[in-house]
Amino acid sequence: MKRIGLWVLCGLLGLSAMGLAQGPRMGGELIIAFGTDPESLDPNKITSAPAGMVLTHIAETLLTMTEDLEIAPLLAESWEFSEDSLALTLYLRKGVKFHDGTPFNAEAVKVNLERFRRASYRFLLYPRVQRIEVVDEYTVRLHLDMPFAPIISHLSHNFVAMVSPKQIAELPEGQDIVAPIGTGPFKFDKWVRGEYVRIVRNDEYWGPKPYVDAVVFRVVPSDATRLVLLETGQVHAIMRVPPLDAPRVAATPGLEVVKVPSVRTIYIAFNYQKAPWTDRRVRQALNYAVDKEAIVKEILGGAGGVSDAPIMPLIFGYSPQKPYEYDPEKAKKLLAEAGIPKGFKVTLYHPTGRYMMDAAIAEAVQAYLRNVGIEAELITMEWAAYLSFLFKPVHEATFDMFLLGWGTVTLDADYGLFSLFHTSQWAPAGQNRFFYSNPAVDALLEKARVTPDPEARKDLYAEAIKLIWQDAPWIFLHYEVQINAQSTKVKGLIHHPREYILAHRAWLE
């Protein structure tokens, strides 16, 4: 038996050596399965990483972030700040064309950025930009009224993608882009809602052209089904392998598990303006009631870490706090002090299949809350419906608690804190879907974004994080580690910490 195994191994090695000798192969259709249908493919409307993953293949940004988390040039070749940090000049790449043949130039950038500015919710990406000046064909200058420290990382955000100005001009008022026309290595082909998005190679791409003819992003909500599709060879790569299955998949010949850090923090938010969540003791009590260590260890199989700040450790401005330890007795005491009766009923909304083990985590939280006398009713919804349900203004928001995640994909605390905790960002204006408000935090976050000195910014964020931690607007749960898997037949796929699988340079053996 052993000898046969050895021969098989030799054969396999030989085969793979042949494969290597051949180098990247052109052609083929690469299939990637992910869990959630994009809620939109309009750069102005998208809010989630799965949508961003698809869009980023089609429409490119001015700057980008490499998988090593460095800001790198993309459609802008270089950039420079003026002495007073009030003007940012971007030098654009020449000879780039949109998929419809429209040339990419300074005017196109202006049209796109102006469109973002009109969408109030996208405004957080560059609120200080007052004027967008077209200096010449390939130079754009952004004029700011105050220094805005995170602007470079914000411009690398995949949502700030450039689409053809012709498409924007021809778009009827009030309508969203469904088939984006960008400059990317792939062109939009087809989107069957809830099933798949197909993109095809852009043969006129300005950079190194993709090897595969097409990429299909298949929407498969069930984690288990996605895994079976990979195991039976129907897809080439999948996102979010159930953590308990990961060891088995890793041991399967022909498959490999890829673990990549993620910048996503998972939280359960309280409806901050609704009784009894207006009482800090209640919010803290629930933090004490849930054993986050056990959730990370047992449900996530260790693929993550317990949150010790509202943003995860890789992010600029992170400042660790002392986690609320698991202490149900303390929780009960705090709840009694706040006058919460035993058997108090609450609603806990959660997505199913959007985040790693999300439904199981919600169920565990429900069980922990039951232990301190709170009956949580679990309500789950389909992802797009879920997001719009949680995007209602404060007087219409009926939920008690909801589970959600936030990836601080710019790696700058501004995007992770300002967007979620500043009072101006209350839904539906921004992502503060839980209506947190603390004037001291607001002031700190505002100051931090106009302070150019990184060290001073860090101090401001540390102060803000401390206040947020004490206010406990969330049950601070954990940050994720991505577990993806792919067939060993696929080479050159990039599994990005922003929760993207990038097929730009991938090829099929």
């Binding site: 984690d223 056990a294 069980a367």
Partner: protein, 277 residues
């Protein structure tokens, strides 16, 4: 009496009755039989295979699976009984009136029933849940509503046959009120098909209620309900197959029990088969 005796000689029906009795005992005495609290959890003990402490192992939150299945019997049987009761309460009177009076009323009712029967029952139930929202009680109502057309059809058929019988004619000749005729003379004679249908519907009710639970439309966590448990187990089926197997077995056994009993009852109640089984 002879019906019962005939039933007693029907071995498969007896087996079915025994299974149902077992589940009924489980349901009534669940808190005394279950070895653990069905809600007591410990993440550290998640997905353990069957052991002496946990005879059927533990689920994804480390809860005792046997205790949850035993308590689940309550939910499943309750759901089955209530949804069949809904079907009976609406279907039998409507079917009887429709059959007895005939005419435009009959036509109207029967076309409505035709439309409802054109949908698979489970689909009808899903539509009802979609309108009412998921939950244990709504699922019961949904399944109950989807049972109504079958009852209407079956009862109407029997009534059509019975209303032409001499004893009905006699009652009519005596001037008995129509509703009294239906109640006193016709319905008692329809009992056999109603009993058989109800027993078989109980089996369907368990299956459909579990199906709704499986889809996340029925009983909500943490309620121990077989279908919901089965649905949740999908994620773990590869690493811990027991969390899928045991709730699945419970559903299969209960459905089998009611089906066997129903078949036996049909044979026992059929006058044409008198004494020959």
């Amino acid at each position: 009496m002879s019906t019962l005796r005939r039933l007693a000689r029907h071995r498969l029906a007896l087996f079915g009755a025994a299974v149902i009795l077992l589940f009924a005992v489980c349901a009534i005495f669940a808190p005394y039989i279950a070895p653990h609290d069905p809600y007591a959890f410990s993440l550290a003990k998640k997905l353990q295979p069957p052991s002496r402490l946990h005879l059927l192992g533990t689920d994804e939150l480390g809860r005792d699976l046997l205790s949850r299945i035993i308590h689940g019997t309550r939910v499943s049987l309750l759901m089955a009984l209530i949804s069949v009761a809904i079907g009976l309460a609406v279907g039998v009177p409507v079917g009887a009136l429709s059959g007895f009076y005939g005419g435009w009323f009959d036509l109207l009712v029967q076309r409505a029933v035709d439309i409802l029967l054109a949908f698979p029952g489970i689909l009808l139930a899903i539509v009802v849940v979609a309108i009412l929202g998921p939950g244990l009680w709504n699922a019961m109502l949904a399944v109950g509503i989807s049972f109504i057309p079958t009852y209407v059809r079956v009862v109407r058929g029997s009534v059509l046959e019975l209303r032409e019988k001499e004893f009905v004619e006699a009652a009519r000749a005596l001037g008995t009120h129509s509703l009294a005729i239906i109640r006193r003379h016709i319905l008692p004679n329809c009992l056999a098909p109603i009993i058989v249908l109800s027993t078989l519907q109980l089996a369907s009710a368990i299956l459909w209620a579990s199906g709704l639970g499986f889809l996340g439309l029925g009983a909500q966590p943490p309620t121990p309900e077989w279908g919901t448990m089965l649905g949740r187990s999908q994620l773990y089926i590869r690493v811990a197959p027991h969390v899928a197997i045991f709730p699945g077995l419970a559903i299969a056994l209960a459905v089998l029990g009611f089906n066997l009993l129903g078949d036996g009852l049909r044979d026992a109640l059929d006058p044409r088969l008198k004494g020959r089984l």
